[in-house]
């Protein structure tokens, strides 16, 4: 037999970027604990549409935890109370019957609200455009074993590359800092031979863009790491600091 719960939702509604927002309360009954958080919001939106009300705007895409589109700050945590998952993989079994769930958009100067729970995360794209790539021409496909890379380096780079750019780190940070994101993107390339060529210019360009876009300064609080759905470690931030300072002292 399927178990269901009754919940009260307090959801942030905001008509547009300049509009003043406020919380609205919704009562939802008989929500299956097997449904995901986003499916629960779909049910609510279906109801709102049938009542001829405007549905709640929220970001989502793949719904399997890899695209980084879903966001939502739920009950004090980005991506909700579950560990190491994105909101789309958060299930209603994580909530108690009769619980009040507060749903807010990411809050940071770098991520202005577009509407309701949707925020503008294009700042991350701008940081990537500033240097998060490799521009060396590699020619034909080289033999996989021609460039030896140690297991530790490969693992570390892969861990950094698991960042999906969802912005939970910024949302969790008391300083609105994007350091974990930038660190992951700098790390994944700095660790590998293909990315080493541009390591200095990349670190400088990406940090400069991050600062320009109004993200805060990292104070090593570590909230980002604990909320990251992909478990990206703050040791990458140390590597970013190292790469950046090395590049600056070389100048």
């Amino acid at each position: 037999m399927e178990k269901t719960i009754h919940i009260t939702l307090k959801i942030w509604r905001q008509k547009g970027p300049q509009a003043k927002g406020a919380f609205e309360t919704y009562q939802l009954n008989d929500i299956s604990i097997d449904s995901s958080f986003l499916e629960m919001l779909d049910i609510l939106n279906e109801r709102l549409i049938s009542e001829k009300k405007e549905p709640i705007v929220f970001d989502h895409d793949c719904r399997e935890g890899i695209c980084g589109m879903c966001s939502l700050y739920i009950n004090g945590h980005p991506h909700g109370p579950d560990e190491d998952v994105t909101t789309c993989q958060l299930h209603m079994r994580k909530f108690k019957d009769g619980e009040t769930i507060i749903v807010e958009p990411w809050r940071s100067r770098g991520f202005p609200v577009i509407k309701d729970l949707m925020v503008d995360r294009s700042a991350f794209d701008k940081i990537i455009q500033a240097g998060g790539f490799i521009s060396v021409t590699t020619g034909g496909v080289p033999d996989a074993n021609a460039i030896p890379i140690s297991k530790e380096k490969a693992d570390e780079a892969m861990d950094a590359a698991s960042c999906i750019g969802c912005g939970a780190c910024v949302a969790a940070c008391k300083n609105g800092s994007a350091m974990l994101f930038v660190a992951a993107k700098v790390s994944q390339l700095a660790l590998l031979p293909q990315g080493k060529m541009e390591a200095s210019s990349r670190a400088k360009a990406m940090v400069a863009k991050m600062d320009e876009l109004g993200f805060g300064n990292c104070t090593n609080t570590g909230a980002c790491e604990s909320e990251c759905p992909k478990n990206v470690s703050i040791s990458h931030i140390a590597r970013l600091n190292r790469e950046f300072l090395k590049a600056k002292f070389k100048d």
Binding site: H77, R107, S108, G216, N241
Partner: protein
């Protein structure tokens, strides 16, 4: 490019880190010299003779600069971070697990420490070294300094305030120590927990040493 210590976030934090480590060194030296108080008036007077050497006098403005830079950069970074947070806060609060409680409260801990530094300077430094800079007419010299400290620390209110101060400082130092290394980039998965533990041990040694001096006088020793 040379102005990255002003223009870039990591550069500004490098200054916080280096000035913080410099203040760590000062605190260590201060603590070590103060332990001579436990050796009685003659031991302490000998140490204070060192304090009147020219090399110490040269270090005074450098030390003061270390404090001023650390504090001004902290306030500057705090202001920027305050703005970066955005105008609207979270109604459901911030429940994320962090490296420590101190990590979330460095600015307020720092301000409390600063307040006590002002008190501390008026109680001792203003009567000793400052007077020598002003000509030395009212200076409490090395041979009287033990009595000055003893008299202040025998006052229970003063001593208890000082002990509270040391442990506020303890919180500040536990985060500050490993955080400084993280910022310089001398940190990785293996060393992060090690540096965090070294930081806690280091801060505890300093706080325990300082506290023991106050307790020594508070309980009537060294009379």
């Amino acid at each position: 490019m040379k102005l990255f210590i002003i223009n870039s976030s990591i550069g500004r934090k490098l200054i916080m880190s280096l000035s913080g480590l410099f203040l760590f060194l000062f605190l260590t030296l201060h603590c070590f010299l103060n332990l001579f108080l436990l050796g009685g008036p003659s031991a302490y007077t000998a140490v204070n003779d060192i304090m009147e050497l020219p090399v110490v006098t040269i270090m005074v403005p450098i030390l003061a600069a270390g404090f001023v830079i650390h504090i001004l950069y902290a306030l500057w970074l705090y202001w920027q971070n305050y703005r970066a947070r955005g105008e609207v806060g979270y109604a459901s609060g911030k429940k994320s697990e962090t490296t420590s409680w101190a990590a979330r409260n460095m600015v307020i801990l720092g301000l409390i420490v600063l307040l006590f530094i002002v008190l501390h300077l008026t109680q001792f430094w203003a009567k000793m070294q400052l007077q020598s800079f002003l000509g030395g007419a009212n200076q409490v010299h090395a041979d009287q300094s033990y009595d000055l400290v003893a008299n202040q620390f025998r006052n229970p209110i003063v001593s208890i305030l000082y002990i509270i101060w040391y442990w506020v400082l303890w919180f500040h130092l536990t985060h500050g120590f490993w955080s400084a290394f993280q910022t310089i980039g001398i940190d990785n998965k293996k060393w992060q927990p090690r540096l965090q533990i070294i930081g806690i041990i280091y801060a505890t040694i300093l706080a325990v040493c300082f506290t023991s001096i106050n307790l020594y006088f508070l309980f009537g020793f060294g009379a």
